[in-house]
Symmetry: C2
Subunit: 477 residues, 2 copies
């Protein structure tokens, strides 16, 4: 039996039970109470210290739950065998300081004077006031809706709103129950891979949206890149593979900017219908922005056989900070979704889903899109006109849609070399090459691809475009 | 050459180019212009129709981009070969109506009069006013922060705030750079599986938090359930497996409510340090709610070797609608995280991250936790007292923490049968059995487990507890 020499301080802010706990714990970690030693009973110690028995019980319960003591039925409390591995607070504090030294904040993205990014948007026209007002209204509507869990696949109202929008704008033909809302396209692909099951073989256009490629690779899928740098993916090439899934951007291929011809669309749908388990993932990332003619209807809308999985996003049409994407599953995949993924809570806050639904239903989104389409078309036209004046510009493609152009240059320098030199001058332009799947970057490369730059203009003013073009002119000439 | 009999309506709201487009498209889909047929040049057709040449060019561009026409250099425009698969708008509308019939809104969760759920919280004390005020402040701070993309691993300020909180509250010892913020524990496990790589073998307590089990299974991991229904997972059993990863809840095992003794903690850390690539996933889901003694420090805090991956959440401490969880990665895993997952944008809106950081830094979270701890302790004490009066209650365990109790009943009916009968009376209680990994539900089951109910009380009033207990009394006696 260990004799405890505890002196309690009745005036301390530390509760009595904690003083007892601290004393015993310290004695055990210091080895003053050794392994297997019996401790006094709670009744005895309470009488000895002149405190309530429950005070001692609390201290012992804490020591028990942390493993410093063991309780043997009908026998009492014994000190446990704890090795010297246990760190005391001081040691933890030292470790923490040391960790702080080792780690630095990860380096910020290198800042350039000018970035010709295909992903950056113009925000100046966003109806902030309307968005804030809707947010405030939603926030003050009722308490419960703020904190109770929402629907796993997304709030029903938002899904209904999206299904109406997709039907009108994209010819997508679905019931709200087929729509899954999630925090970004990549998240939806992570879900989709669980729905489709492990080990699929996926044909993907090359070059492509590399995040999709990497996400599906991360999920253990075998990726089969198909050349898509001439007129998009070719059905003949697809048929040589043993692919079960095709990932494609028929309305506006990224980064090539090509539109899949009707013939290829029908061929692709036929391919999918020829064997069960074949699916087409249609990524319709920026279909909202076409500057000539009407938007091209989705592949999903002309599919008879439930083989198209349609994915779209508000991250492109509103902003990358709005992490709301949607996936339309064919009916046949819904039960697999509910079985394998139905337990995942939605990754988009209910509040944000409600704000977005109100933003769409109030007509703000449509008006914003119309405005932005005009603005981006203006930028597109200016940029195109500026580039056409340049003697080093050999060919421009991917125009009339999206927020970037492909520019083949007349130069001895490759696009990669031009990118490097521009970086040194504080200007970030992109080589088309950067969008090729790494492992296939050097295979069968056409010489013009090596000489093609990708220039995004979505976030730039005309003055900035001129500045960037002047910089390229200097480098190339 | 096809002769086009277009009659343009200059007074129509439909633009002229669209009238031309519509006419040609209709003629192609109707087969009036057949595959391979040459169309007039834009110059000819413009003169013929007495419209600007650019009007015809727009129509042709649209038809080209949708694949109805093909352009042969120096030759002109030809109708493409489109099969009858192409659906016109009417057919789409019909399909849509049919789809609406087939699908119904997925059935709402069956509503019970009373739910003894371990997941439901009490929200009445949430400082809605403070949360709203912070939200409004953040919303009106500056426009750019609302729409520009945030940091992939989470906003730095929130990560710093979390690292301070975790150090003070849980003894977790980390740099903010080690923290990854994500929309819920399951999402973080999806990321983690990509960081750790494919095909791992994971030992997991049984019974356990089944969403974690299912998430890791979905990621293709081989799951190795270890019995944890007596005194938690046993290190001896772990050593018989070829597990590389352990998923565990040392501070408060769900659903058993056990606290892992120090000896087992040290044993687990030793196991992890004995081979490279071994990791312990410490799920610290509800450590904030202990009603006796101090919270138990985390396993991460006593780990010397960077083998513990710590996961915690605000979904439990604030509400399931706040989908914000955090994962602390050991330094050694950071480069794999950035390589494989660094490209994923954060799944938590920047706005919500800022609100949460301000909520923590303003002391609201701490005050809220203190208040809720008192409230849940009150509920816990009442529920325990009520249950102790019942003759059919044989043994209560898992008390003094969390928001549920395990109750072994004296009855000929199994817990599963009691659950069924209670459901009929509109009361949802749970059988401990429901939390066992399905495939192992009947293996080596102790008889007392078959007779144990899991009763959550977090969202219930004392009157509701009494009502539920009365219902159980009726069923059992």
């Amino acid at each position: 039996m260990h004799e405890l020499m505890i002196v309690l301080d009745n005036h301390s802010k530390t509760p009595l039970y904690e003083q007892i706990y601290d004393y015993i714990r310290k004695n055990i970690t210091d080895g003053k109470i050794s392994c297997g030693e019996k401790l006094p009973s709670t009744r005895f110690l309470a009488a000895h210290l002149q405190v309530a028995r429950s005070t001692v019980e609390s201290a012992y319960a804490q020591l028990l739950s942390e493993g410093y003591l063991e309780s043997k039925p009908c026998l009492g409390y014994y000190a446990s065998d704890i090795s010297d591995l246990y760190l005391n607070k001081t040691a933890i504090e030292e470790k923490r300081k040391e960790a702080q030294k080792v780690f630095l904040r990860p380096p910020e993205k290198k800042k350039y004077r000018l970035v010709f990014s295909p992903d950056e948007n113009e925000f100046s026209c966003f109806p902030y006031a309307a968005w804030r007002k809707i947010s405030r209204d939603i926030l003050s509507q009722d308490d419960a809706s703020l904190l109770t869990a929402g629907e796993a696949a997304g709030e029903w109202d938002l899904r209904e709103t999206i299904s109406r929008y997709l039907y009108q704008a994209r010819g997508v033909n679905c019931h709200p129950g087929q729509i899954i809302v999630g925090a970004g396209n990549e998240y939806l692909l992570l879900l989709l891979a669980q729905v489709l099951g492990a080990g699929k073989r996926v044909a993907i256009e090359n070059p492509t949206y590399l995040k999709a490629y990497q996400t599906l690779s991360n999920m253990g899928y075998q990726m089969l890149p198909l050349p898509a740098f001439k007129n998009g993916m070719q059905i003949e090439e697809l048929q040589y593979t043993n692919a079960e899934i095709v990932y494609t951007m028929p309305s506006h291929q990224f980064p090539m900017g090509t539109v899949m011809p009707m013939k290829m669309r029908l061929g692709l749908l036929q391919w999918a219908s020829r064997a069960s388990g074949r699916y087409i993932i249609e990524d319709d990332h920026d279909s909202e922005f076409r500057y000539r003619g009407k938007p091209i209807p989705s592949l999903q809308g002309i599919d008879h056989n439930g083989t198209v999985i349609y994915i779209g996003t508000f991250s492109k049409s509103i902003s990358p900070a709005i992490r709301v994407s949607y996936m339309v599953l064919p009916k046949e995949l819904l039960s697999a979704y509910y079985r394998r993924c139905g337990f995942y809570a939605s990754t988009v806050p209910k509040e944000q889903q409600k704000v977005l639904a109100a933003f769409l239903n109030g007509g703000y989104f449509e008006r914003y899109l119309n405005k932005m389409r005009r603005i981006y078309k203006g930028k597109h036209d200016s940029f195109l006109a500026l580039l056409k004046q340049e003697s080093w510009v050999k060919k421009i493609s991917g125009d009339h849609a999206g927020m970037h152009l492909l520019v083949e240059v007349k130069s001895d320098k490759s696009a990669g070399e031009i990118v490097k030199e521009a970086k040194k001058r504080g200007v970030r332009v992109y080589a088309l090459e950067e969008y090729f799947i790494f492992e296939y970057r050097d295979e069968g490369f056409l010489p013009e691809l090596k000489n093609t730059l990708l220039l995004g203009y979505g976030s730039l003013t005309e003055a900035e475009m001129k500045e960037g073009i002047a910089c390229l002119r200097e480098i190339i000439n």
